[in-house]
């Protein structure tokens, strides 16, 4: 499914990722935990194709295809979805229009037929209901005037509609209260299955109580220093990153 080999990347000449090896098999959910500045967000942006990052070595393959050779929209059409840590506001772009444009662009890229407004609204209303989101969220401009929790829920709504094969959740738990956290976790869990994989990037173990990962990887200084089962997240919570980092060094 996702195969990352020796991935190194820098920004403005500064090395951030220093050789990441990671295999995410189909149908599994892995967590990446790490302290601030360890490269968690850089990893998610490099995989999604944001400008400004230089990949200096290594590769990332999605279902065998070279992810790094694709434009961001091609990666999305190939099944990659990044839930942003800081979702971007789009004044003047209605949420429903945004979602439908995105969905139809992906369907077009995959050679599928586009959805008309009626078909789309039916899907979207069902998805908002499932995420306990008010219908007017579809009418508002994308993320404009949304609270932190609403923005994160809107990310999960997009994920629910776009149905990616691989989701990367970049600190989706940050700034969420416990109720919002549960809704977000339910949104992710609802997608779990043999055709869905996820990388859940988080600073805290809390989210992993609700989205229980198959594997946990610890990212420190741009490298994965340790991998283990879900119990590793609890060890981190108890002992802190410093102990793990020292042990790994």
């Amino acid at each position: 499914m996702l195969q990352i080999t020796g991935l190194a990347a820098s920004i403005d000449g500064k090395d951030i990722l220093r050789g990441i090896d990671l295999t995410l098999p189909q149908g599994e959910v892995h967590a990446i935990m790490g302290p601030n500045g360890s490269g968690k967000s850089t990893l998610s942006y490099v995989l999604a194709g944001r400008d400004g990052y230089a990949v200096t070595s290594g590769s990332a393959r999605l279902d065998g295809a070279d992810l790094l050779a694709m434009t961001p929209d091609e990666r999305a059409a190939a099944g990659l979805f990044l839930a942003f840590q800081y979702p971007v506001e789009l004044p003047g772009v209605g949420n429903a229009n945004f979602l439908r444009t995105a969905l139809n662009a992906q369907r077009r890229a995959r050679g599928e037929s586009e959805l008309d407004a009626v078909q789309f609204l039916k899907l979207a209303r069902a998805a908002t209901k499932q995420l306990s989101m008010p219908d007017d969220m579809l009418k508002r401009n994308v993320n404009v005037g949304f609270s932190g929790g609403e923005k994160k829920r809107n990310e999960v709504l997009q994920m629910a509609l776009l149905r990616p094969r691989l989701a990367i959740l970049d600190e989706t738990d940050s700034g969420l209260d416990i109720d919002a956290l549960k809704i977000v976790a339910e949104g992710v869990n609802a997608l779990r299955g043999p055709n869905f994989s996820a990388l859940v990037i988080t600073h805290y173990q809390r989210l992993l109580d609700y989205i229980v990962p198959d594997r946990v990887h610890v990212l420190v200084g741009g490298r994965i220093v340790r991998s283990g089962g879900p119990e590793l997240a609890h060890a981190l919570e108890a002992d802190g990153y410093a102990a793990i980092a020292a042990e790994a060094a």
Partner: protein, 421 residues
């Protein structure tokens, strides 16, 4: 003035000399305008108010007077939108009664039938105003009686290309709302081919009257549109102008508003969208001549290719015009490294208890917004189009008439669709 500008000015003067005895109205006013135009010529690069809008391109074209008979016979009805409202239609600057549908409750006449020149600020010595006064043959005159709500009325200017050579026309419009009257105007200019449309509009908004105008400039991409609007707003009256520059090779809309009585208000919401080597200029002068008046101006400009945009906004607050409230904002989006925006705000304040401010931004498309859209699967070109559309959407959404919104939407969509990705 350059030799080329002088030559073009001379050809307009020669036209006037040939026509003067046949032109309607006050010969003395025309003669004074001709003398002023002979002295000033066409505005050139040394004219401060025209520094950012050179008229060189105008001098490359040999303009002729439109032929009335041809225009009547070959009205470009394909350009005439079906709006389902009363309308006054002009072809090549002449009112076409056959194409017009007159409204009720409003006094309508043509300038040719009732020629009158109003008193313009500065004696009408501005070069383009003088050119209009010198050559005006027709135009619309609209008067809304006291207290009457006249609803919506379209004034549509079409250029016919009937004569198969470039034409110039200088319609003279006068619109008067008496006290407490209301009117929504939909002003539309369209055409084919090469021409110069130089309309001058005199507006009188009476006490407590309200004029809302939606002006859609969709001229041919080979045309020149140089318009002057001179408005005087009495106490408690308001003039709300929505101005969209979507066409023309070169356009300048000069808006001169005098807030003459206490509590008068002016609001401008404008958008310009252009590419290639086209040019669009909005120049405003708002005179706060009485206390407790308010003006609001917001201009959004999108430039692609080698296009050039201009917004010059001057706010003058007279001595004694206390509690004046003036605000202007210019926002420009540059889609190409070769595009250029010139913004020039000017505040001239002679009263001490006023609130006046201005702001300007010029930027590119936001990289984070582009990445966000692309990360959702929207290809880059489509994402850029969505963000440009979003930048203009607020102005279009504010248009107070559904028909006008539809026309603006399709003009913007056509422009976005025609843009190279």
């Amino acid at each position: 003035m350059s030799a080329a500008l002088a030559e073009t000015a001379h050809s307009f003067l020669a036209r006037y000399e040939g026509l003067r005895d046949h032109l309607p109205g006050d010969g003395a006013a025309r003669q004074a305008a001709a003398a002023a135009f002979a002295a000033s010529g066409l505005p050139g690069p040394r004219d401060e108010a025209w520094k950012y809008t050179p008229l060189r391109a105008l001098t490359e074209i040999a303009f002729h007077a439109p032929l009335a008979a041809l225009a009547d016979a070959r009205a470009p009805s394909a350009l005439l939108p079906e709006l389902g409202m009363p309308r006054l239609v002009l072809v090549d600057g002449r009112v076409q009664p056959d194409l017009s549908v007159l409204p009720d409750g409003v006094h309508i006449s043509g300038f040719a039938a009732a020629p009158e020149f109003g008193a313009l600020p500065g004696g009408g010595r501005d070069a383009m105003a003088a050119l209009n006064t010198m050559l005006a043959e027709d135009g619309v005159r609209i008067e809304v009686p006291e207290g009457v709500d006249a609803g919506v009325l379209a004034v549509i200017s079409l250029a016919s290309e009937a004569a198969h050579h470039p034409v110039d026309f200088h319609p003279r419009h006068a619109i008067r709302l008496n006290a407490g009257a209301r009117l929504t105007l939909l002003e539309l200019s369209r055409g084919d081919g090469v021409y110069l449309h130089n309309p001058l509009t005199e507006l009188q908004v009476g006490a407590g009257a309200a004029l809302v105008a939606v002006r859609l400039q969709e001229e041919s991409h080979s045309a020149f549109h140089l318009s002057g609007t001179y408005a005087e707003i009495a106490d408690g009256g308001s003039y709300e102008l929505f101005l969209l520059h979507l066409g023309a090779r070169l356009v300048r809309s000069e808006i001169d508003v005098t807030l003459a009585g206490p509590g008068a208000r002016f609001a401008l919401r404008a958008a310009q969208a252009l590419g290639e080597a086209r040019h669009a200029d909005i120049t405003t002068i708002v005179r706060h001549a009485a206390p407790h008046c308010a003006s609001r101006q917001s201009v959004r400009t999108v430039l692609d290719g080698q296009a050039r945009g201009v917004f010059q906004g001057r706010v003058e607050v007279a001595r004694g015009a206390q509690k004046s409230d003036g605000y202007q904002m210019s926002q420009a989006l540059l889609l190409s490294p070769d595009a250029e925006m010139d913004t020039k705000p000017q505040l001239e304040i002679y009263a001490d208890d006023v609130k006046c401010s201005h702001g300007a931004t010029i930027g590119e498309l936001d990289a984070d917004q582009l990445f966000y859209l692309q990360s959702r699967g929207v290809p880059r070109a489509e994402a850029r189009g969505m963000l440009v559309h979003a930048f203009l959407a607020e102005t279009v959404a504010a248009l107070p008439h559904a028909g006008a919104r539809g026309l603006a939407e399709s003009a913007i969509a056509a422009w976005l669709g025609a843009r190279p990705a």
